[in-house]
Amino acid sequence: MKTSRIALFASALMCSTAFSAQAAELEVIHWWTSGGEQAAVSLLAKEFDANGQDSWRDSAIAGGEQARAVVMQRILGGDAPQAAQFNNSRQFEELAEADLLLDLSDLAKKEKWRDVVRPKSILDPCEIDGKIYCVPVNIHSDQWLWTNKAIYKEVGLEEPQSWQDVIDQAGKIRDAGYIPLAVGGQGWQEDLTFDDVFMGVGGKELWNKVYVDRDEDAAKSPEVAKVFETYGKLRDLTDEGSAGRNWNDTTSLVINGKAAVQAMGDWARGEFVLAGKKAEVDYGCVPGPSRHPVLTTGGDIFIFPKQDDPEVEAAQLRLASMLLSPDVQVKFNTAKGSSPVRGDVNMASADPCMQKGLALLNDDENIALPKNAILSSDTDGRIQDLVSQFWNTPSMTVADVQDQFAAILQDGS
């Protein structure tokens, strides 16, 4: 009921002769192609089709980098999709600045997004020059370890609570015939692991100093050196097949009892659920790993490239509104393994792992902005290249990588 009222309002605004909203087909580009993700996005599509007016036209493109590239090229080429997934980050900043995105401010005000969205910082990347250009759909945090409980039981070890634990336990796990730490050897996964080490070893304060304040001394400090050192030690913990492996193939190593642990964002949970595993029974989830875990509040958002057709625009607003509605938030995030962006929904049905995450998100002390929301895509990418190079080049010294790290942060936007 609510959605159609907005649609009416919108179409009346855009096209004074229209009295009722008409059906529109919206093409949505996203990169949700793994098992758990497919289940979640199908839910959104079904929900949107169910409003009786519109239809969801799915364009899945494997790989976030590839998908975002296609969106950019198609917007540049004047063939923009009606909606597109991005990370909650600065990736779409220039699109908004160039006035290519639909302004959602009115809808946001009407539905009081500023009040319902939690934590509040999640809406910040969407706001550019005082206008809201995107709708956040979920919160994903990178700082999680996923463990195979059976392996730890067999080896007789506690789940790791810090990166030092992971390193210390490696020998025993290796001797028992398991991979101590499964890493997918793709640039972004290596970078994610680095972020986890940074947060776990360096902590939130260092994170903010280095990335937000761009404090050169902090970037060159011994604390950051320690981060790189710890990260470097993890190289020997993975297996030979790591190179180029997808994240979900890596997760299956943990699921199938080949690897003890993987550091991956909370979306990995979806793979466990799909495999019929039970949280905290078959698999464990350790935030951080740190005694004081801090989660970055990344996640996915949708942008709506501007269209000429007022009917399409009305449908875009309907989709935006639907994505944030309490009901969809619960269903979608339960399927996907992410946290809802609203604090006012009932997530009682969530499993123990999700509950852990939700509890942490409630206190601003435990959260930080992800790197790609702080740095431009260009600078973020340079850091990723550097980290990936360091990970794959054991001969590279910590001093060398740290110098380059500090230089990129000083130079980039």
């Binding site: 980098e65 975002r68 590239a69 950019m72 090229q73 540049l76 990736q91 220039e94 699109l95 160039a98 050897g185 793709q186 640039g187 290596e190 030979e240 097949g241 790591s242 190179a243 180029g244 431009s376 895509s377 260009d378 990418g381 340079r382 290249d385 550097l386 990936s388 190079q389 360091f390 990970w391 794959n392 080049t393 380059q404 130079d411």
Partner: protein, 294 residues
């Protein structure tokens, strides 16, 4: 009357050449100039002509990923062209020795050329997989220390890409070389045999110089695919491990899309263009522009 037809005919020729004119000037000149111009700006996702000089080039050449890409292209290019020529020639020579089932062998060597780089990359990624590929098979047969998983090593990954590319490209070269060999006058062979010149000497000192045009064509075709190599790397290694198999084309694409830095992407594209202009330019001028038809 005659003059008029001539003019009209010439006009038809000119009209017929419009698409060529548009492509040559519009795309290969104007678009290239536009790209080069962008490399001197600070453009991110969208073109913005705020000229800043050579900053992007300075950054480019101080970026490890770019220098690694360039050296990979050199390694890849030399090995790929070298092995394709060598293998292509040897296979062609063998096929030219009056063998049975020549057609079967020829088709066998040529078919990979029909496959896309994406397909080639995927197959070889699978063959080189340490847990499921050749390495595992050989180890299961009892040779425990056998190791063939180049894609997992930063040092050897690029050679893994070379193997895949040679597998794909050799057939065409074999085909070209075979055509060249078949074009050699039979009298030459007779003369060489009469003079008692050994077979290998005949090939190296007499036949190879005679099929020089074929070799030139082969080198040209191979070089074109070297500069453009992209799909293969994306499908086989994704540029990894780390940045070990990055190539310039991928640097360009990644930067004007995902990275949102069109300017540095175009600086990189310009650097890719430079050797083409310097090396191929004079050759093309000599071969096709200056030379009047023989």
């Amino acid at each position: 009357m005659k003059r008029k037809t001539r003019m009209w005919s010439n006009l038809s020729a000119k009209i017929a050449s419009v698409p060529m004119l548009v492509t040559a000037i519009g795309v290969f000149v104007l678009c290239v100039v536009y790209s080069i111009a962008l490399s001197f700006t600070r453009s991110r996702y969208f073109p913005k002509f705020d000229f800043i000089g050579f900053d992007q080039y300075v950054r480019l050449w101080t970026t490890d990923r770019w220098t690694v890409s360039v050296s990979n292209l050199l390694i890849f290019g030399l090995l790929f062209v070298g092995f394709c020529l060598l293998l292509g020639f040897l296979l062609a020579v063998m096929l030219d020795r009056n063998i049975r089932m020549e057609g079967v062998f020829r088709t066998t060597f040529l078919y990979p050329y029909a496959l896309s780089f994406v397909v080639t990359g995927l197959i070889w990624q699978w063959m080189m997989d340490p847990a499921l590929g050749i390495q595992n098979v050989v180890r299961n047969m009892g040779w425990e220390s056998f190791s063939f998983a180049p894609l997992t090593s930063t040092t050897y990954a690029i050679y893994g890409v070379v193997i895949a590319a040679v597998w794909q490209g050799t057939g065409l070269i074999m085909c070209l070389m075979l055509a060249g060999l078949r074009g050699v006058d039979r009298e030459i062979w007779k003369a060489a045999r009469v003079d008692g010149i050994p077979l290998w000497r005949t090939y190296i000192f007499i036949i190879i110089p005679m099929i020089r045009p074929v070799i030139v064509t082969s080198v040209v075709l191979l070089s074109i695919s070297v500069v453009r190599v992209y799909d293969l790397v994306v499908a086989q290694t994704g540029g990894g491990p780390g940045i070990a198999t990055e190539v310039p084309a991928k640097f360009v694409i990644d930067h004007f899309t995902e990275r949102g830095n069109v300017a540095i992407a175009m600086a990189a594209a310009t650097m890719m263009l430079l050797p083409v202009l310097l090396l191929v330019g004079p050759w093309v001028y000599n071969e096709y522009v200056r030379r009047v038809r023989a």
